[in-house]
Amino acid sequence: MPDVELHLSVVNTLLERHKGTPGALLPILHDIQERIGYIPDAAVPEIAHALNQSQAEVRGVISFYHDFRTAPPARHILRLCRAESCKSRGAEQLAAQLRERLQLDDHGSSADGSISLRPVYCLGACACSPALELDGRVHARLSAERLDALLDACREDA
């Protein structure tokens, strides 16, 4: 089955599951992203129809929230915390290290699709700043060496 059809069947199952849920749009979007990895464009009319909203409204919500992606993610997603507590413990130097080593800007994705960088504003790890989240796992008390080791590990299974 081509992607679109596969996606639509996933989307419709999820829409069915949330039929009676009040204010269902965010749970639906989270579920779709968890299953498919992003919110495919083809899902939008389906969601709009199921929730009796306009496509513009649905797109408005998707673009408002930083979490929702409309394209497939890289193999690894690295979110470095850039908020105050981590800044006070050298997050900016780590950001520079990332830019330098990966040759990417703060929001960039590597051309080979292996890693995406995203800023995040606080992971609740501030008592052990600086911190980052790599593929859903938080690492705190970072140092330049630990950051390098994490990147090495990403590269190895690339």
Partner: protein, 519 residues
Amino acid sequence: MMPTLYLPTDSLARAVGADEVSTALITQARERNLPLELQRTSSRGLYWLEPLLEVDSPQGRIGFGPLTAADVPSVLEALSSSTEHPLSLGLVEELPYLKTQQRLLFARAGITRPLSLDDYRAHGGFEGLARAVAIGGEQTATAVFDSGLRGRGGAAFPAGIKWRTVRGTQAAQKYIVCNADEGDSGTFADRMLMEGDPFLLIEGMAIAGLCTGATYGYIYVRSEYPDAVATLRNALEIARSNGYLGANVGGSGQAFDMEVRVGAGAYICGEETALLDSLEGKRGVVRAKPPIPALQGLFGQPTLVHNVLTLASAPLILAKGAQFYRDYGMGRSLGTMPFQLAGNVRHGGLVERAFGLTLRELVEGYGGGTASGRPLKAAQVGGPLGAWVPPAQFDTPLDYEAFAAMGAMLGHGGVVVADDTLDMAHMARFAMEFCAEESCGKCTPCRIGSTRGVEVIDRLLAAPDQAGRDQQVIILKDLCDTMQYGSLCALGGMVSFPVASALKYFPADFGLQPSEAEQ
């Protein structure tokens, strides 16, 4: 016989290696044929000691930390031969950092297993709910009112007034909404509580439901806290199957149930009306008040919106009485506050104390000064919209009114410490940048002003001479005023706090003479 061992499951303990320590303990105990009983508990919040392993002893639990997997063989050796270990901390509850705290809300932190109902009940769990069922809604509301409890989410509005308002409003459906968006840098008390003591929040929300007549609740948790989401969802199942949620809550004959909803990475959804819009499936845009949520909140129905810590205080107030609670604190700031020490601080962690200790006692006493060992420069209190407080003002008591009087705020109790290397001009610029990034877009001063703010700070820093700098300072101050008075909510309205305080106390970082910043 090996004593019982305890190691936190807390996400931050895991982020610094608790799982690796756990794995090492299990495999090496097996290799040595040691029978191992290892319980995964909540964290004490003494994060600089994490991963912190605790071991039962006749005198109490002995701590070892901070551990790495490499320390495990020697720790096991010390335990089985009853010898000293260099990382032994002695009795954990005798550590001054913990011993001098007044842990009411975090009484179980580090002691119980988050999802063990037996542990929870053995440590006072559900006593508040039983009391609430026994005395009824009217007296429950009175207890909350009399306790002096104020909202812990930031605005510090008296909780009892909201409870009475929602209770007194007639409607077919009312809601309890727990604000667990905890977006402020430097804060993690909500996370700790949800991951470590989820039944406490559930109990608090059930009490609120019974009191106000709300039959359904939502916990809106930020997506950056997946462990809290998973723990809460499991806890809800357990609570439901034990009669603490459902058609007959705690034998009251009243119904209350709830679910967890997950945010999607928008700081503004911590503002209560934006949060309600988000729960309704919309963009998180701030609503104009009135109507207040207590009268017209979620789906237009009366809604009690509170922070995690506010709701989690209810069981204690009910179980121990309003008077017990208000005996802690000072002035109109009553009870205890879980302060959170973060940033460049030697002993980062959670410090629950009655209001009224000074910022100096917190940062220098508990915190032990900067982690880098360099001179202390400032502390930002109350999140990204809080002021940078210079050490000269550290003798201010941690009290809502005292902080407001010096143009600062306590907010959610987070304290970010900075040493002399942190560039305050960069931090001021970041405050504006963050505001621009996270603005809901409803009002022009916030949406446009924050972007202008970044530009003005850039021009100020690039200005070649004093005349040029003076001009930009005037524009920046004017912009701060416009944003402060022309914004609907505190994002646009209070971003001037970190900016203006940085400028006032650290003019040199902006290339200014003290006199230039003062004018």
